[in-house]
């Protein structure tokens, strides 16, 4: 029994150290990390600055997937050329980002602003109520449109240009063009957020406010107004992630996407640490790599389909036990 276990661990290691295996896992990890950073970065900004754990974040991603899909399905026809398809994709991203930024800003001003002075519990509860409303509204709209809310929106998946659906060989490993494209988008978004946070006055306010909101106010900065902006931008980013997922056959636009991405976003933000965008990026890498490794292990060696997801949550629990402030957390953990 024990001998067999030791033997199989050796087997797995030998298998794992195969160069093509490593490349395959790394590629998978890279594309997953890119998606995870897209999914989590908006939540990271909001949670970091305002301390509001926005449960509606996944719902906003889900809305983004449908909105982006709607733009694509409306504009792409059989005769649209591939470069134009790609261009329209960026139009869809811009439109969805704008729409959800406005929605997020409005939500902050009307619903969340009145309860900043209450315990954080109430902010969690309020955004939880939003999940119910937004998901049900999406279900209504989708059913009116004649779609099944629980299954992926195939028409939207079909608007991806051919060169993204094809497979390419990278270092001896075949992968979809789409996965490489996702890595590119992820890198661009991370760079854009990074530049916003470090190069603009607003970014500076967000970073100082995340560290010490009171001190920032005492320097004459209206932190509440930055809350509106950040909640809007964070919502916009959630929507942007949705547009990207709309093309990915592993996700696709569906109402359950809301919970699926919410849990991922929580895990990444908590592991990365409150108020640290760098932490979020690193945590997305850690979670992506864990996921890729466990997926490989499941396909080849362990007969347990829930392995990647379960290990991801175990990592969350382990990080909270060993290092509750997260990998790069800058705010104190503790009091309510």
């Amino acid at each position: 029994m024990t001998d067999a276990a030791v033997l199989s661990v050796v087997d797995v290691l030998v298998d794992l150290l195969e160069p093509t295996t490593l490349v395959r896992i790394l590629l998978d990890a890279l594309s997953k990390s890119a998606l995870y950073v897209l999914i989590a970065s908006g939540l990271s900004l909001i949670f970091g600055l305002m301390g509001v754990l926005n449960f509606a974040h996944g719902s906003l991603t889900m809305l983004g997937a449908y909105l982006g899909g709607a733009v694509m399905v409306a504009l792409v026809s059989g005769s649209t050329s591939e470069p134009v398809q790609l261009l329209l994709f960026f139009v869809a991203i811009a439109a969805t980002f704008a729409a959800l930024t406005l929605l997020g800003g409005a939500v902050e001003m009307t619903l969340i602003r009145p309860i900043y002075d209450r315990e954080p519990l109430f902010q969690i509860l309020l955004t939880f109520g939003l999940v119910l409303v937004l998901d049900e509204l999406a279900r209504i709209a989708v059913e009116l449109y004649g779609l099944q809310p629980r299954s992926d929106w195939q028409a939207a998946l079909g608007t991806a240009p051919g060169f993204l659906s094809s497979r390419y060989t990278v270092a001896g490993v075949t992968t979809r063009g789409l996965y490489l494209f996702e890595v590119l988008i992820g890198a661009l978004v991370v760079a854009a957020i990074w530049a916003f946070l470090t190069r603009t006055r607003y970014g500076l306010y967000i970073r100082s406010g995340s560290e010490d909101s009171e001190m920032t106010r005492a320097l004459g900065i209206d932190v509440r107004r930055t809350f509106t902006v950040v909640f809007g931008l964070g919502s916009g980013l959630a929507g942007l992630a949705g547009v990207v997922l709309m093309w990915d056959p592993r996700f696709g636009a569906s109402v359950p996407l809301s919970v699926e991405t919410l849990l991922v976003a929580f895990v990444v933000v908590i592991i990365g640490g409150l108020g640290s965008f760098r932490g979020t990026v690193v945590a997305a890498g850690v979670v992506g790599l864990t996921d890729a490794l466990m997926t490989w292990l499941f396909i080849n060696h362990v007969d347990f389909a829930g392995l990647p997801e379960m290990v991801t949550f175990l990592v969350l629990v382990a990080v909270l036990i060993v290092r509750p402030q997260g990998l790069y957390g800058i705010a104190e953990v503790g009091g309510h």
């Binding site: 006055r201 100082s208 920032t216 005492a218 320097l219 004459g220």
Partner: protein, 236 residues
């Protein structure tokens, strides 16, 4: 002169920390350009007084006036924009921002940011070598200088300075005192300080606080630790 309203005036201010009644009717006033010390034992409400002026701990009763205008109940950032600068206890650096960013964040929008930052650095040349370091990595004395420089880059003419010498080595304290002394010539200063001689050295007048009330006021130059009243209220 007599026509000008005081730079800062507190009238019967009551403030609470949670449920505990900390300020029980504080009255004080600081004329424009005047340097005033606020002294008293630990826990008598000195820091709360500063926080109440800034609206961080909004008074439940009484009024705070700045240049004659009632600011009670105004949001903190609006009070700050009236030219009130705060050098808080324990300095409150943005530890993960660079020194330069700590200064930039305090510059008013629309102002010449790099010019103001340079001016602040001119006042504290020792900080020049560290502009790109994260503020959390600096020594306590350097952090104190950043905290003071941070109120310099804003358009502040009323400074609320809380325990600037706390936790610093004596040599560093001297530097800080020098800096504050120079600064105090041009602005109105309300200084909270445990180090009594230092507080008296830097100011013209003092208020003695006990149990949330002003119990004594007088001329800083004439004040002495040996004075019966002062000793009674200062010794723990």
């Amino acid at each position: 002169m007599s026509g000008d309203p005081p730079a800062l005036e507190l009238d019967g201010v009551h403030s609470y920390y949670g449920e505990s009644h900390v300020l029980r009717g504080v009255d004080l006033s600081v004329e424009t350009g005047e340097n005033v010390a606020l002294v008293g034992r630990n826990g008598v409400g000195k820091t709360t007084t500063l926080r109440s002026i800034l609206g961080l701990t909004p008074p439940r009763e009484g009024t705070v006036r700045i240049d004659g205008e009632d600011v009670t109940g105004e949001p903190t950032h609006e009070i700050a924009r009236r030219g009130v600068g705060w050098v808080p206890e324990e300095r409150r650096m943005f530890k993960h921002l660079s020194v330069e960013e700590n200064l930039r964040v305090a510059t008013p929008p629309g102002s010449d940011v790099s010019k103001r930052v340079q001016e602040a650095l001119d006042a504290f040349p020792a900080l020049r070598d560290h502009v790109d370091r994260e503020a959390g990595d600096l020594s306590g004395g350097q952090q104190q200088m950043v905290a003071i420089a941070r109120v310099l880059v804003g358009d502040n003419d009323l400074l609320l300075v809380d325990e600037p010498s706390e936790g610093l080595a004596p040599l560093i304290v001297e530097e800080v005192v020098d800096a504050l002394g120079t600064l105090a010539e041009d602005v109105t200063l309300l200084l909270v300080e445990q180090n009594f001689p230092m507080a008296m050295d830097l100011t013209d007048r003092f208020y003695l606080l006990d149990q949330g009330k002003v119990v004594e006021t007088g001329d800083s130059n004439a004040a002495s630790r040996d004075d019966e009243t002062i000793r009674r209220y200062l010794s723990a």
